[in-house]
Each structure stands twice: as C-alpha cells, then as structure tokens.
C-alpha cells in the first residue's frame, strides 16, 4: 500500500503521524472492504434463503445431484489453506520470511487444489446436462421439480462468484509471497500480508457456509 524499505523501521506516508497510525488506518480500511464483501455475498445468501424456504423439496432434489464428498474435501482444503495463510502472517511477524514464504506458497497450491476439484465438479455437472436456470437440460436430467434450474442457477452463481474470489485471492497471495521472498516484510511492517490474509479468510468463511447450505441441507 505504501512505499517501504527492506530493513528496519518502515517509513510511513507523509500524511500519517507514525507507522502505527498508518497500520491502524490500513486495517480499518480493510475491514470496511470486508464488510462490502460480506454484504455482496450476503445478497446471494438472502436469495438462497428465500427460495429455499419457498421450494424446500426442489432444493433437496438439487442437493441430491451434488456429491457432498467433493464439497467436504474442498472444505478441508480451504481450512488448511486458511491455516497456512495465518502462518504466513505469523512467520512474518516472527521475522522468518523463508518460512512465511513457503506457507504462502502452500496456500496458493491449496487454492489450486480447490479449483481443480471445483473444475471436476463443474465438468461433471455439465456432462450430466446440469446447467444453470433455463439451460438445464430437462431431457437428460429429468427432474421431479420443473424449476430445478433455479437451484442450479443459485449454485453456479454462488460457487462461481466464490471461485472468482479464490482466483483473485491466489494472485494477491502470489504478490505478497514475492514481496516476502524479497524480504520486504518484518515484524514491524507486514500490513499487505495481513490484508491479503483477511481477504483469504473471508473467502474461506464464505465457503464454510456454502458447503452445508448447497451440499448438505436438503
């Protein structure tokens, strides 16, 4: 977010009093941004909740088309990635950039793993004629409820938007990993890592809700 030097005390921007002042401001900005993320996904969750309460049977039919084991594995993958992300910050706080770097790399790899599983799931669905909304192949799927497409409309929107966030998160982690490797961070200055970490945890947090709601509740 700001220019910095590799070693020692981080120089804060001219309009802040101190590095601590800048850090707390950055942190507040980040949390405000997280609120917007929560509210944006929140809109989808509201739509989900409303239609779930209107068409409970249709939703349970939809969930039965999903393989909960895939979602389960992905949940574990993301939780682990959250841990490695947290450790990435932890080791930066401890002035151990090497360890921090490898933890960040592990986070990216876990993110890739998540996406691969997601890709397998998506292609499996497409293979069985399951597309969102009105593109759902009625002849192939032969659903009990005629509006099953709505469930998969929500499914693809929610997981799709989440997937986009995973990709954005991974590139951001890549950016801080490079900077960690170059030794830009230390126990006095690690704001970007912390910020990216908060973003990544939000991505994890959303998945924590998506998994039971889409795969299990039915």
């Amino acid at each position: 977010m700001t220019t910095n030097v590799s070693h020692g005390e981080h120089h804060h921007s001219h309009h802040f009093d101190s590095a601590e002042h800048e850090y707390s401001s950055d942190k507040e900005g980040l949390w405000l941004f997280m609120v917007t993320e929560i509210l944006m996904f929140g809109g989808l969750f509201v739509a989900y909740a409303i239609f779930h309460s209107i068409y409970p049977e249709m939703f349970s039919e939809g969930a039965s088309h999903l393989d909960w084991r895939m979602g389960f594995i992905n949940t574990l993958v993301l939780i682990t990635s959250s841990l490695t992300m947290a450790l990435g910050i932890f080791y930066n706080q401890q002035n151990q950039p090497k360890k921090a770097f490898w933890n960040l790399i592990a986070t990216i790899l876990l993110g890739c793993c998540f996406l691969v599983i997601k890709y397998l799931e998506y292609s499996g669905k497409f293979h069985h004629g399951i597309y969102p909304g009105r593109f759902l192949d009625m002849a192939v799927v032969n659903p009990v409820h005629q509006n099953l497409g709505l469930y998969f409309g929500l499914y693809f929107c929610m997981t799709g938007l989440h997937g986009i966030h995973v990709v954005i998160g991974m590139s951001l982690i890549g950016w801080v990993a490079v900077r960690t490797y170059k030794g830009h961070f230390n126990s006095h200055y690690y704001t970007p890592v912390e910020g990216v970490g908060i973003f990544w945890h939000i991505v994890d947090l959303i998945w924590i809700f998506l998994f039971p709601l889409l795969y299990l509740v039915g």
């Binding site: 981080h10 590095a19 601590e20 850090y23 707390s24 942190k27 507040e28 949390w31 405000l32 997280m34 609120v35 917007t36 929560i38 509210l39 929140g42 809109g43 969750f45 509201v46 909740a49 409303i50 309460s53 209107i54 909960w68 389960f72 949940t75 574990l76 939780i79 682990t80 959250s82 841990l83 992300m85 947290a86 450790l87 932890f90 706080q93 401890q94 126990s187 006095h188 200055y189 912390e194 970490g197 908060i198 945890h201 939000i202 994890d204 947090l205 924590i208 809700f209 998994f211 039971p212 709601l213 299990l216 509740v217 039915g218």
Partner: protein, 99 residues
C-alpha cells in the same frame, strides 16, 4: 508496531483442528438425517466455524473495538435485508385465478 499481539503457533493449530473436527461433525449430522433440524444445525455449526476463523485467523479477538463494530454492522444490515424481504414474501396473500 512491535506491540501487536502475536497469536502463538499452538493456538493456530488448535483452531485448525477444531475447524476440521467441526467439518466432520457437519457431515455426521448430515448422515443422521435430522429432518427439519438439519438446516439449523448445519447453519449453527457453520456459524461456530466462521466465528473461529474471524476471531483467531483474522485476529478480530485482539483487534480494536472499531473494527469489530464495523464487521458487526455488516451483519446487522444483512439481517435487515433478509428480514424485510422475507417478511414481504411470507405475508403475501396468494390469489388464484377462478377461471
């Protein structure tokens, strides 16, 4: 900046273990087929997991009040959105064609 609270390594591990355990618990609950309770139970477990991530991984437990209020307000407004939309949808009088 050195006065920032650093959460010990052990805590991170404990939280991660709890998260994994709770994930298993969700699946077990699913297999038990709790019927109408399934939804609320799954949501409750997810909420506990989310709280763990927020408090420890995202350091909200050691953050200042301002940031906690900011995050909380997001949830409050979300509740308003769902509350009023759902109120409308559940209190509509459904009319039918008589033809």
């Amino acid at each position: 900046m050195s006065q920032h609270h650093v959460i010990p390594f052990k805590t991170y591990m404990k939280v991660a273990a709890a998260l994994v355990a709770l994930t298993f618990l969700t699946v077990i609950c699913h297999e038990l087929h709790l019927g109408p309770l399934a939804g609320p139970v799954a949501f409750l477990i997810a909420a506990v997991k989310a709280a763990l991530v927020l408090l420890y991984f995202m350091h909200l437990k050691y953050d200042n009040m301002q940031n906690r209020v900011i995050f909380g307000s997001g949830l409050i407004f979300l509740l308003l959105l769902i509350g009023f939309s759902a109120l409308d949808i559940w209190t509509r009088v459904q009319s039918m064609s008589t033809l």
